[in-house]
Amino acid sequence: MDQNVERLQVRVWRGNANGGGYRSYEVPAQQSQTVLDVVTWIQQNAEPTLTYRFACRVGMCGSCAMMVNGEPRWTCRTHVKKVLDGRQLEIAPLRNLPVIKDLATDMAAFFDKWTRAEGVFHPTATRADAIAPIVPDDPMRVLANEAIECINCAVCYAACDTVAANPEYLGPAALNRAWTLQNDERDSAYAGRLSAVSSGDGCFNCHSHQSCMTYCPNELNPTASIAGLKRLSAASFFKGGRGR
């Protein structure tokens, strides 16, 4: 390694489901260096067995999220200079998810909750019908549009202390998805989804800490979506179970 190049002191969590710990590496600092660049450098130059997950490297696929200096980040779009603590960088697998190996977590529970929250579109029309017109400034469409750019990176899920306290809680991403569908006029599963998200592990677990909103890399606001679901649920209760 060139001795004149400034180096980052990087601690990376190595281990598996049975446990592990941090190992230290020295990584040459670069201009416009992302955290994913640092992890890739370590794997290619120092630790070939280091396991991590990524795909697109441009903030589209949502697969490279990790804990960086204790905070959940999408590593491909997080510049090292933005998160560096002195020269120190600490990289760990996402919180609230079981580790498979090193920096790769098992996301199965995260996606299962997506299904449990009825985050699936139930069409009211068939493919033989004409395409339904979408009016962009319709109030419901506006609400849905504000929440639809989720890339399933699980950063919000890792930031959520309610998930940490209750692993069965559906979590911000699944509930945010449910909120977009509750505001989709073409969807037919309003009542069933409202029942699913109002269940014991649903939206009423949320303590409105707003960590999901703070850390969402796409600047979505799952707290607002969950508050919306709480309002829909409360309104349905006072209307005797009737909804949209």
Partner: protein, 113 residues
């Protein structure tokens, strides 16, 4: 315990709301006990009220008022968050709740001493 993801203003506001509520819950039994003295033991109640005239006790009372105000205004903030249309001014509301609470508690302390 790693708390580095809990340093945001709104996360701190929720912690203040939670701990002020717990502190008030611990205080309430004592409060009701003293109220009960009015019915059962007027002499002890008078002795207690005389004790509360000490400046240090007044100061502690002001802290209790601060906790009560923080929990009240923080609770109103949460009710607004959950039942009114979403506002992007959440940090401003949290800061306003804190400022109002300090205003109320300082006002109480100045009127009490």
């Amino acid at each position: 315990m790693d708390i580095r993801h809990r340093r945001d203003t709104l996360r701190i506001a929720s912690l203040i709301h939670r701990f002020s509520g717990l502190a008030l819950a611990l205080f309430l039994p004592l409060h009701f006990y003293v109220l009960g003295l009015a019915l059962n033991d007027a002499a002890r109640l008078d002795a207690f009220l005389n004790w509360t005239d000490y400046p240090l006790v007044k100061f502690v009372e002001a802290i209790l008022v601060l906790l009560l105000a923080l929990h009240l205004f923080g609770g109103l903030r949460l009710l607004a968050l959950e039942f009114l249309p979403w506002s992007p001014r959440q940090k401003a509301y949290a800061a306003s709740a804190a400022a109002l609470s300090f205003f109320v508690s300082v006002g109480f302390f100045l009127s009490a001493v």
